[in-house]
Subunit: 342 residues, 2 copies
């Protein structure tokens, strides 16, 4: 009576789902195999990234969004919601587990919601790769909305934003001086700007600052902003055509009281419609999957190469770099050309 | 009378230095070549990472540290200081330039200080790689102290901390709830903990919280904490030996007034002495350079491979992934095995 893990996940077994998520986090071979089996069932979910600096109230907002999807207005059908919280907490503090518990209390008893916190240090293959795996599992398991929550404004947030169809950047009034800089960097990945804690003093200033930044920005098709080798894959806009552009709306919310959350849900739905209408949904899909595939090819090529060269050969070059005889760049070239170090 | 750029940098030409830093940021071939030439002159600088959440006053603290190195007590010789500020600001806001100007005013006219802000979006090869290049240039140019300042608590900060010999994590009393979680994640990379703005209320609580976290942590040799393929390179501690362990000290500062900065400088010097005494200085050096070399090998292998396969072959697999026939993982394997997709 042993059932296949992928099939159990497809049939809605929550325990199997949790087990597979752990396998993905741990990077096990059977987790990987199950993911391959599940992959044909992916591609339906709306992936929504939620990021912002500490203290902006992202988690409360994510919970409110989940509640909104579970209790839609006008008697619409509720959709299944998964929350992936990428939490930079350490294994020894149990921060992720604590966060889960607090949230479970709020959304508990609802089988249509699944919450998973991921301690970033547990992600052996990199945060973005592991997050991508978790998201694919939820997608295959029929979760129509996947909220991916990240703290901060680093490269990891940008990478995770590239996973999402729609990225929400959350601000709050009256944060420190550095916030201005962070806003600027993260603004480029924002599809919707949220000013949470909008009952705080300074909300007008925050909104004005965001509006000024949006005006300074010259919107270009988003795909061009991504770093790396995939940039050229985007066909240039033919001259004479005027592609529809998405200007990120600014929405004030008070997540604690649910104020503004309904309007925020409408902005998210509008962005989804925009992506589908313009074909950008498919482009983001392609970018995400190609990036994942290329990353896998890189690691596999490296692993093969390492097995193909003798250990002493590699060690000799490391020694030459350590003694500053050759640079890492020169050593890499020489090794790939099969040059003997002696 | 055309002088070689690397030689000009070695001879102390600041304009040449600035020009080379720009070339490194832009990833140009001649910048790369100059870096190869300069590499034999590296390995002398003490690399000090300074990271922490927005609003903790990192920049002021970094300026104070620079001033401390330039005006050492007891008539000691001042050392040359470079500051690399990894700034997540966007190209269109000019945040990095503004930050430079404010700092230039404070430390201006001192030829022994060089400040470079790097907009993270300008880093084509990834923030950590570009930062590593800038740091190597400063190292070769004779800057004995290199302060690497980053905002946030993401993977980029962890990667940059891996560059540094000594990592300072800066906290401040009375920050938001999320800070707790961030602290935990970043605590593992801290060699010295700084509570800046120590005149603020709540400083006792902040210090107590940090002490509790330090006690919870079971200190293990730091190199084991790094992700990726290099973890095994660290020889296990032979049974019976009791390696000297570094317990991160906690130092209160008020950067605005310079309070506590002298003691902080002493902690940094003590950590440097610890690294040299235990051989960990060399281990961190090796880890950093091997990681850099392996990253280069990966990209070069991928670039070669892409040139070796016909474009239609790659495109067909992308299409199969997009239509969910095969997973990115399966496609990568099949392509590397040269399987025809049709």
């Amino acid at each position: 009576m042993i059932m296949n893990l992928a099939n159990e996940v497809l049939s809605g077994n929550r325990l199997a789902l949790a087990r597979l998520l752990t396998k993905i986090e741990n990077g096990t071979a059977d987790g990987r195999a199950a993911l391959d089996e599940l992959f044909p069932h992916t591609g339906r979910a709306h992936l929504i990234g939620v990021t912002g600096a500490p203290g902006t109230g992202k988690s409360s907002l994510v919970n409110q969004l989940a509640k909104g999807y579970r209790n839609p207005p006008d008697g619409a059908e509720p959709v299944k919601v998964a929350i992936v919280a990428v939490d930079p907490s350490s294994p020894f503090t149990g921060g992720a587990i604590l966060g889960d518990r607090i949230r479970m209390r709020e959304l508990s008893g609802d089988a249509g919601v699944f919450i998973r916190s991921m301690a970033s240090r547990g992600a052996l293959g990199g945060i973005a790769t592991t997050t991508a795996g978790l998201v694919q599992v939820f997608d295959a398991a029929g979760f129509e909305i996947i909220l991916i929550e990240t703290v901060g404004a680093g490269q990891a947030e940008v990478d995770i934003a590239c996973l999402a169809h729609t990225t929400l950047v959350v601000e709050a009034p009256g944060m420190g001086d550095d916030i201005q800089a962070i806003k600027a960097g993260i603004l480029e990945i924002a599809d919707v700007l949220v000013i949470n804690k909008a009952d705080r003093p300074g909300v007008e200033n925050t909104e004005q600052a965001l509006r000024n930044m949006l005006q300074l920005a010259h919107p270009t098709p988003r795909i061009f902003r991504h770093h790396g080798i995939k940039i050229q894959n985007q066909p240039p806009v033919p001259p004479g055509t005027d592609p529809e552009l998405w200007i990120p709306p600014i929405q004030r919310t008070i997540a604690m009281d649910g104020v503004g959350v309904g309007d925020l849900l409408k902005h998210i739905a509008a962005h989804r419609a925009y992506l589908l209408r313009t074909g950008e949904w498919l482009q983001r899909d392609r970018l995400r999957l190609e990036t994942e595939m290329d990353g896998l090819i890189q690691s596999k090529l490296y692993a093969r190469w390492r097995l193909s060269v003798p250990e002493w050969f590699y060690a000799e070059y490391v020694q030459k770099v350590l003694s500053r005889q050759v640079s890492p760049h020169q050593a890499a070239d020489a090794m790939l050309n099969g040059e003997n170090s002696s």
